[in-house]
Symmetry: D2
Subunit: 400 residues, 4 copies
């Protein structure tokens, strides 16, 4: 199939469509549609791979608990500048999120005015499947993928029986088991509908063992989780080089300040991060030994808004026990880094579906902090090794 | 050949044996010989490759314009701490550099009391060849390599005819052509003696076209040039990731403060660095486009001594033209980073010689700022790609 | 005189009216005139001192070699954001700089299309005096002050006889002595016209001994020189504390990156800065001993535009010889820091004139890198001591 | 009294004599006694004030729950280098802390083997008073002061009745009231014995209203609390300048990493710090308005040992609402900064006693994070204003 073959119109069904990342991504597609050739931040802008949808052919759809238009949401997030807001106002003003589907089991916990309340888990899954079907028809889509960009959910009890197997999960759906959270219901619906699913958040979703199994059986591509944008990306870039130079990492102190809407949600992840730091983490996996003094702090700090600042201090020991320090200060913009990755994840999941590949898409590891792997083995975290994995996968398909 | 085969005793003939890097390396070998298992900073400490000499079997030899013992030199450089100096004093005290060989054509330019003045270029080469032969016999060596760690020389006129071909070079030797500098005489002698040659300095030596040709004809491995230790190493680690994320580099400002003996020599490189910055540089090669605002400053700043501090500021543009900054502050120790690389370069050049590989050893690119390449093509600068090149070469040999 | 007395309409005759600092200052006054109560950055916004003109009553006038309107200039400098440019466009569009007055002795050196060429020094002074008289009448001013914001001029030969005394200077004017630069002609004209003069640039002007003498004789207030905005301000804030804690400064490395129009002019100051660093500098004066490793670098780096980044590294020795480091990274905006200081300098010079104080106004030291002093003694550089000087002077006048 | 008058032998009775700060201070005095003229870090080294004891005449005494010699303790803290340890080993080896006095009311809480357990509060106070009397006689002291350098205690209930007045406190002593902590018992004993008391820790001690009252009645000088060494010192240096330039502080994020023994104790202060941040803090007091986004983090991070690293990010708004950032990175050594301040506090408290000044010594504010004030008014936090206060007090006494 030549690269100039019929263009694919691909929908992105976003959970959390009104958020900063989704609206920034939607605005970006609108700019490209209007002829802009600003391709900064789009890793695969120059990849000529048969079957890969064009950015301009991506259609934003999805759900949000806030029903305002994407234009209104975008203005609130203050990521785009004034002239960018003005230029995209009309197009984004025409897009409104569908009501978020909520099983009544969770209704008390969820706040927002744009809710489609359904009696239980089964009904929620059915409603989401219906929505996906409707999107496909309404926009005349050739393909559709779901991407989770909603606020992070609390980690469910790891011992929860309902998540362990396909059968147990189905019984959990019938019983409205509270261990099955909203993100899992959306993921379950996507897989049922044959829609590839990508998880840009740390919430448990398609990575629950039950859903991994289902995605394999149904041959639906899934990928995740937790987008790798700023500080963690740099960590997975620098750590492999320290290992290659045999500089021993005595400690790695990472602190973040961040003032956007996700700020408060992230504070909860602080404890999670600390917990992960003591167990097998990104860093330990790359270095091959445990870094006991690996500390990750995230602080909600309003003056920054969507801008995010990361400060890392790395203590290393070199030849003859002499000690050195590396400090990295990253003044970044959260949504500006995340939005283009979302576009690539969507395009690549659509491509995987065309190639008939189901289950976890390990070759997308470069986009995630905690990549899903094909056989449940430990993920590759080193950035350059992940890049190579993706490049080879892209090339393999192209050569077919 | 099993890894437990007969051990090889390998000499390192260092040009500049009394310098901070050489004495630190020699002290490190002494510690390993005394049973220390501190292997920090040694990239190949755990590589089980047949034929690779052990660190403990490396013998330091060489030349210096200052004739004091390595113990005295080491104490002056203030790289090791007091207890390390005390522990290595006896062993290093027993090593004294041979007089630096100087063709009278350069005698006026060279300062130092430990000089073996010879009437011209030919005599200089012959004297160095004699020294190499004597080292081999005196220490009962199985192998010997030469490594250049001397102060940086000025760049010769690029148009100089004498450097262009083997024949022209030989005529230049006869004529005591001033375009042929000391580093080239040492390199020429090493190749003549069949001794592999590594250049850890920015001086022109085995990379002169005439000597590249000679090293190929004679089948002698050569590698260089300019050790990649701190700031440039980080640059070649981070830049590939920026390219992979399509973050456009608008500018990269690198400044260094450094107070050791090489400080003043480096000031001269400042102009060189600026010049390189405007032409094809490490950065441009990795990114694939010219970074016009790539500035490299080096400043002699005494409070630091051998400690070196690098501060980099990177301005990048991401999605939709939004700008971000990355700042890297590296508080490093020059000789501590460099010394273990010298040990690895020596071991690998000796291995290449055993494998019968002559000419530029491109697989050693990871150790150099300006790697020599096999066919004169542009070098690979990306750190991880260089690492893979070396790993594959090591494995290929192991599999034979 | 009560604070509510008749309001004073005060003109600021700016040399370099189209520059980034002047246009930012003019825009700020326009915002205040339109009712904005944003007083950030204005040190004396809340000072209730009789005679001090209101910001809204300042009138921008002056000269520039580029004749475009302040609105056009302001848009070029990219200091204000889009909505600020839009809001001030009309008011600033109505102001156009007068042609810069140039003695033909300098004409070859000066580039720009908005020039009033006059046959010699005397004619230049006369033309400027005429302009000042015209401004006063044209705008119905109660007071007028001149502020130099033009590009930095080269330092004249310190031994130049013409600058040493009033008489010599007058003879120099007659002879079109090239040692008398444009900044001195403007300053000379201001003093002749009884107009207070402030010098925000490093150029030699009213600080030439001849003009200091003249300003005292004529009773005209003068102040300068070289606005203290970012890095040097921080230096004069931190150094006094290091002295108070007896932390010995072993070295202070200051580097700057800056991309605005003054960038290239500043490169010339690099050599000046270095020179000052080796002699009695701001730092040495505060600490009471010479800091031999005090290095100041300024680098033109386009990605920043008017944003300026300073990075300071301070090496200190504390108790028992133990060493510590302080690093300060200031991401500032040059014109945003400078513009409000210009407004204060103008208001204070006008106040000094009302109080009948002539000659150097030492109490304005807090605004300058190299403050002029009353009796030629060494200036006070410590920021807090300068603040106290100003506060006391303001209070003294208020109490009268 | 001339400055050359009879020298005063002054004892420092340290609570926590085996800690890093106390042993560093004791070692420093030993160096000065042995003729060293290294006076770095000693703010008043050159003050010629009548009555001020010489550093060499300070005698270290005190209590610690660990009974090992100061030499052994000093070696453990790893503040001094090897040669400094060797040189002071003999002198410090001769000093052993007295057993810490513990009222049985606290015995369960206190760990350590060097304890003098007494039946209750009254007995504890009496034992401490006895110890002070014994010190005076044993060393032939002309004066003696007590300094608290013990680990930070938890903050008592602010509403505790026992701390509110002298009488209530005395009843609390009789009743072994648990609101009266160890630090208060030591402070109470010092005041009873007429021994000036300084509190270098954040624990509540002489600042309890009851003890403030007592110190005034008895005419005993007291000062505190919480030594101002690194990050907070810099905060009180920089904030006044931001106010002077009218740069509005939108947020101030301060994070610390620290790996010494006090590390874990400090983690508890984290909550305290946060609490203070929301109320009237150092910063708010200096700036004159509340900084809502003022965050202070302290993290225990072992790779640093006694070295402490502070990283501050300051967000400010300047003219026309434009925003800037200042980042300060302080690589300091906790005990090296603290020890000389302890020596000055001791000398100054002894001087205050000679001058007959009782109650809170506000002129020592420059040494403390939360200075005690004479009339309970809000303390002055600006560093330079504190310096002036001390200088004037010193001069006033000198002039008498």
């Amino acid at each position: 199939m030549p690269a100039t073959a019929k263009r694919r119109r691909v929908g992105i069904a976003v959970v959390g469509l009104g958020g900063a990342v989704a609206t920034t991504a939607a605005a970006g597609v609108e700019f490209l549609r209007r002829g802009s050739n600003r391709l900064d931040g789009l890793p695969l802008a120059h990849a000529a791979v048969p079957g890969l949808a064009r950015y301009e052919d991506l259609v934003f759809e999805g759900w949000d608990l806030n029903g305002q238009s994407l234009a209104a949401a975008c203005a609130e997030h203050r990521v785009l500048n004034d002239s960018q807001l003005a230029e995209t106002a009309e197009a984004l003003g025409a897009v409104r999120p569908r009501p978020g589907v909520a099983s009544e089991a969770f209704c008390r916990r969820i706040s927002g005015s744009n809710i489609r309340s359904v009696p239980g888990h089964r009904a929620a899954v059915a409603a989401i499947v219906d929505d996906l079907r409707d999107m496909r028809v309404a926009h005349g889509l050739d393909g559709i993928v779901m991407v989770n960009l909603a606020s992070t959910e609390r980690t469910p009890d790891a011992e929860s029986a309902a998540l362990r197997s396909m059968d147990a999960f189905e019984r959990g759906l019938d019983a409205d088991d509270p261990a099955i959270g909203p993100a899992m219901l959306y993921a379950r619906a996507a897989i049922e509908a044959g829609v590839p699913y990508g998880n840009f958040t740390p919430s448990v979703a398609a990575d629950a063992p039950a859903l991994v199994e289902l995605s394999r059986r149904r041959g639906v591509p899934v990928a995740g989780k937790d987008g790798k944008t700023g500080q963690t990306m740099m960590k997975t870039v620098i750590a492999p080089a320290l290992r290659a130079r045999a500089l021993h990492v005595d400690g790695w102190f990472s602190t973040n300040i961040l003032g956007n809407r996700d700020g408060e949600a992230l504070r909860d992840r602080d404890s999670l991060a600390s917990k992960l730091g003591t167990k097998g983490s990104v860093l330990d996996s790359i270095l091959g030994y445990p870094v006991e003094d690996h500390i990750v702090d995230i602080r909600y700090y309003r003056p920054r808004g969507d801008d995010k600042e990361a400060w890392d201090n790395i203590d290393v020991t070199g030849f003859l026990g002499h000690r050195m320090q590396i400090k990295v200060n990253f003044l970044c913009k959260d949504s500006v880094l995340a939005a283009p990755l979302v576009l690539e994840i969507a395009r690549l999941l659509d491509l995987a579906a065309q190639r008939g590949e189901g289950g976890p898409q390990e070759q997308l590891s470069i986009f995630f902090k905690a990549p899903m792997t094909v056989n449940g083995h430990a993920p590759e975290h080193a950035f350059h090794a992940q890049e190579r994995m993706l490049t080879e996968w892209l090339g393999a398909g192209a050569a077919e």
